[in-house]
């Protein structure tokens, strides 16, 4: 208990507004400030888009030059990001080839426990089975694994029964496996993965960790989406990065999510979106200074304890936990890239239309990560102990990220042509008006060359072809990337704008559970 006694909440995490999720939870000036910050991302995005339209109509020449500059910027950005993807791909392949078990032998790690949280809702048996089997197949001492199946009371008795069955089936495999049932309607929470995880962490603290007197420093928590299937060396790789980290207790460890569990069954649209998300995370792996945690990730229990286990009242709980940690630690908290994969599900539904709707909703939920921006800026203003430079850089980078997510694809693929259609008569007769679509088209073609890289890398990350699937599907998988301009608008920009607009008007989103696999 000696370790436990030294662990307490961080001072900043004790603030009453530390876990604020929405403006209405505050009062007075703070409330007005937070509400203004909620409005800003959507407002700036709309001003940008409307501004391009108005400029096209009333300042066509300026709009044309702006679009040309923006297209060049886009090409260079594509090159920049492709470079990161390609580099991370090399590193990912390399990491898959490493014998991590051997590499962690140099560190004394017998005392380390892995706490795995698997929050679930109404997912089918096979999803939980897959996740647990993945854990069981790891090259790690399973007795060091504490697995928590975190069910939701609101999912009904079937979900609880499924959890019990799984506990019974796998009880001999892991050091500990337990079921927690998150009660419905707890005050101050919104239903979803965040509140469920928060409850599970509290439960396991009182029922396992404290009773068994496991030092908090010796527990690494992996909070996984329930469809997460870990690769065999995940825990070894995690440990290696943990021991090698400059400040392991002030770090979150981020694997690369490969949405490949059902890739062969998923439609092309779903595959493109899944792989695009993977690529984005691969880029972030090489830019950890810009990264927050995403989806399944790992962090020390001590760090989580120090902030009271994150927030139970937000939609984007996976990234919010990083910002909680970073702000509470006065900016002294980082993301460590593992460049090691975990397998997850691509979004699917029984019908194409259902798949489209599910992908849209999932990406709107992800894009609702914009709710983190007011939180970050609000606490950057409040917490003066965070270095000013860090506050400015992180605030600007995050803001630019949310802005570009929703505006860039629309500006590039739709509004790029606006001066031609909306421009003045004087503009229409100019060489510039004729050259504009040609130069923009040529620049986009160059940018699309990056898709070839995407296609090659995605094929290399695709799991082996299961029986019953034609070889021709490889060709489809290679060519599916031509859908990217469309998917960027329909499944990135528009859901992002949707999310930011909701936040702007105070119509806050709730957590939407992405259906896992078709029953």
């Amino acid at each position: 208990m000696a370790e436990k006694s030294t662990t307490s909440r961080l001072p900043y995490a004790e603030r009453p507004d530390f876990k604020v999720a929405r403006a209405y939870e505050l009062t007075g000036t703070d409330r007005r400030l937070y509400r203004t910050l909620e409005i800003l991302p959507g407002l700036v995005a709309w001003i940008t888009l409307i501004g391009v339209v108005l400029a096209s109509m009333y300042a066509s020449f300026f709009a044309a030059y702006f679009i040309i500059a923006f297209s060049i910027y886009w090409v260079l950005k594509t090159i920049f990001l492709s470079y990161h993807v390609r580099y991370n791909w090399r590193r990912l392949k390399h990491h898959l080839a490493i014998d991590w078990q051997q590499s962690i032998a140099q560190f004394p790690h017998d005392q380390i426990h892995h706490l795995v949280i698997l929050p679930f809702y109404k997912e089918p048996d096979e999803v939980l089975e897959g996740a647990l089997k993945g854990l069981a197949d790891t090259r790690y001492d399973k007795q060091k694994l504490i697995v928590v199946l975190a069910a939701e009371e609101r999912a009904g008795s079937e979900a609880v029964a499924l959890g019990r069955r799984m506990v019974s089936t796998w009880s001999d495999t892991f050091g500990k496996i337990l079921l927690t049932v998150h009660p419905d309607g707890l005050p101050g929470e919104i239903p979803g993965k965040g509140s469920n995880t928060h409850f599970a962490l509290t439960q396991v603290l009182h029922s396992v960790i404290d009773p068994q007197q496991i030092p908090y420093r010796d527990i690494l928590v992996s909070i996984f989406d329930v469809d997460t299937v870990v690769y065999p060396d995940y825990f070894n790789c995690l440990l290696w990065h943990f021991f090698k980290a400059k400040n392991p207790y002030k770090s979150a460890f981020q694997p690369v999510p490969l949405f490949t569990n059902n890739l062969w069954e998923a439609p092309a649209l779903s595959r493109v979106m899944a792989m695009s998300s993977t690529f984005w995370q691969m880029i972030m792996q090489e830019r950890p200074d810009r990264a927050a945690t995403f989806s399944s990730h790992s962090v020390s229990f001590q760090a989580l304890y120090e902030i009271g286990f994150g927030q139970a009242n937000v939609v984007s709980e996976d990234s919010r936990i990083f910002w909680n940690l970073m702000i509470a630690n006065d900016g002294n908290f980082d993301t460590v890239s593992m460049s090691y994969p975990i397998a997850m599900d691509a979004t699917v539904a029984p019908t194409v239309w259902g798949t489209i709707k599910n992908i849209y909703r999932q990406h709107r939920r992800w894009a609702y990560g914009t709710e983190n921006w007011p939180y970050i800026i609000y606490h950057f203003i409040k917490n003066k102990r965070i270095p000013l430079r860090k506050r400015l850089v992180v605030g600007a980078l995050q803001g630019e990220g949310y802005w570009s997510l929703v505006t860039n694809p629309i500006m590039l693929f739709i509004l790029g042509w606006a001066p031609i259609y909306l421009g003045t008569q004087e503009f229409h007769t100019t060489v510039l008006s004729y050259e504009l679509p040609i130069i923009v088209r040529n620049l986009l073609v160059i940018a699309m060359a990056g898709l070839v890289v995407s296609s090659v890398i995605s094929l290399s990350l695709t799991p082996p072809r299961p029986e019953g699937h034609s070889r021709f599907k490889y060709v489809v998988m290679a060519l599916q990337w031509i859908m990217v301009p469309l998917t960027m608008i329909v499944f990135s920009a528009i859901p992002g704008l949707d999310a930011q607009t909701r936040l702007m008007f105070g119509r806050y989103l709730g957590f939407w559970v992405t259906p896992k696999r078709v029953k």
């Binding site: 051997q102 090489e286 950890p288 004729y434």
Partner: protein
């Protein structure tokens, strides 16, 4: 199998270097693009390079596979859309544009090109051999036109589609009556038996028999010669005044087609760019109460353009179906199509000669009757 990672995380320094390299490329590329897109080009005269502002030509055609020539040089890789060509890097000055294709009549126009600006023009190329679709009284059960031997004369000078067969007897029991034929006979009958205007030609030639009428023209009840009603389409009015045909822009002046307008300039430059006739029209307008409209300091627009009737009697006029830049005229020696654009000159091409054709425009199609045969006149080459 390695036991330690060899490939390190992409270092901040390396990322920074790469980032600033791209910034440098941006800083170089952007001014080049801003220089290039309005029309600036580097011109080499001998060993001397000079920066020269250029213009462009945008040529619309109604034919997808047309050969374009500018100043006797073939134009390649200029297609922008299916039947539109954008020709870059044109020096300021007058340029002769030719659109031609085997089997089609040639269209020629001298176009003035100004720096930074694109001169827009629409070419048209009618078939050399008239293209028709026969409409016979009877068809076979499969829809093939059945032609009588008395109709062969007309067919010798035209191309037809779809294929037809010759009737070997007068028996029609195995054939199907063509409903389109019945509609056309009604249309043409009303034109010959009617008592109203179609009998009167534009220029008085009393000995000529009545030959036609237009079935679907939107007469606006204007003040032109009562024999040929005004025709209005897409903000343009085709009318007869003082024995001549005019096309008048009656829509919003801000949307007036470019060929109604000319660049402001001296008499000599106007004549050189657009022709003496255009200069005369503009000069004449200054003497009236409705001077040329000048949307800006560089442009003058005249709202009316006369149509060249080739010094022939006009029996009918209308806009070509589906086009507001072309008019169709039934003249003494055939059916002609003329462009409204009169910059340098007006291209006029014969669509059909025949013997004594009559013409009906109905439902967006041009039908003719000549030598006992009803047929539709087609503007493009029949492709099998």
């Amino acid at each position: 199998m390695p036991a330690e990672p060899i490939i390190e995380l992409l270092s901040y320094q390396r990322r920074k270097r790469f980032f600033w390299s791209l910034v440098l490329i941006f800083m170089i590329t952007l001014p080049v693009a801003i220089f290039y897109t309005p029309g600036y080009r580097i011109s080499y005269v001998g060993d001397t390079a000079t920066i020269m502002p250029t213009g462009g030509l945008y040529v619309n055609t109604d034919t997808t596979e047309i050969e374009l020539w500018v100043n006797e040089e073939p134009v390649r890789n200029a297609r922008l859309f299916r039947s539109a060509y954008y020709i870059q890097n044109i020096e300021a000055g007058m340029h002769r544009v030719v659109a031609q294709q085997t089997g089609l009549q040639t269209w020629v126009k001298n176009m003035p090109v100004d720096p930074y600006l694109v001169a827009e023009v629409t070419a048209f190329n009618l078939p050399v051999v008239p293209q028709i679709r026969l409409i016979t009284e009877y068809e076979t059960a499969t829809g093939t036109a059945v032609v009588g031997s008395n109709q062969l004369t007309l067919l010798q000078g035209v191309s037809t589609t779809p294929p037809y067969i010759m009737s070997t007897s007068s028996a029609t029991s195995s054939l199907v009556r063509n409903q389109e034929y019945d509609v056309l006979t009604t249309l043409f009958a009303s034109s010959t038996q009617g008592t109203s205007s179609p009998r009167v030609s534009l220029l008085a030639v009393p000995e000529l028999p009545p030959r036609f009428r237009f079935a679907t023209t939107s007469a606006d009840g204007g003040t032109s010669t009562p024999s040929l009603p005004n025709v209005v389409r897409n903000d343009m009015r085709l009318s007869v005044r003082d024995g001549e045909i005019y096309v008048e822009w009656i829509g919003n002046l801000n949307r007036i087609p470019n060929y109604f307008c000319i660049a402001s300039g001296t008499a000599s430059t106007t004549i050189a760019r657009y022709g003496q006739h255009v200069f005369d029209q503009v000069t004449a307008l200054w003497a009236t109460t409705t001077p040329p409209w000048n949307p800006d300091a560089t442009k003058l627009c005249r709202p009316v353009i006369p149509i060249n009737r080739l010094r022939q009697t006009v029996y009918a006029m209308d806009f070509v179906p589906g086009r507001s830049d072309l008019v169709v005229l039934l003249l003494e020696d055939g059916v002609y199509v003329s462009e409204i654009d009169d910059w340098s000159w007006q291209n006029t091409q014969r669509l059909y000669a025949g013997v004594e054709p009559r013409l009906v425009i109905d439902n967006g199609r041009m039908y003719a009757y000549d030598q006992g045969v009803y047929f539709e006149l087609l503007l493009t080459l029949i492709t099998s």
